[in-house]
Symmetry: C2
Amino acid sequence: MEMEGKNVIYVGQKPVMSYCLAVLTALRGGNTEVSLLARGRAISKAVDVAEVVRNQFMKDLKVKNISIGTETLETEGGSSKNISNIEIVLAKG
Amino acid sequence: MEMEGKNVIYVGQKPVMSYCLAVLTALRGGNTEVSLLARGRAISKAVDVAEVVRNQFMKDLKVKNISIGTETLETEGGSSKNISNIEIVLAKG
């Protein structure tokens, strides 16, 4: 995932609207692009955030790219666990 | 979402491995492409299915396209509710 020079918002446990507000704030600061990153169960929420912002707040916002991947996390027991992630890049008209 | 002439697998409540098997079976029948469709919380699972198949079973499988959208569902009370969806198109090398 490319992250340099881009606004990155990590989607986790907060409500969908918190992340929508973060997207709107990021795009108000002169940036034309913002990336949503999420892993595991938060992936569904990242999609919700992208859709809610596009449908309800910024109709000219486009989904520029979506990519998926896998990360390996160490568990407390010392074993490793794979977890999926997603990056959704949103760009202004 | 385009669905004609493509293998479509709806990802829902079953375990990840059930859908991985469905993908492998679909691709064994001479098809070179398969679409995973999911909505709501199953979106995270659809990403898991794509990643597990690609990392563990078919290394030459590529993510050809990912698209997201919103559907409106009628609830029992007569009101409507928006739900996000995802389509992940996987294609053989």
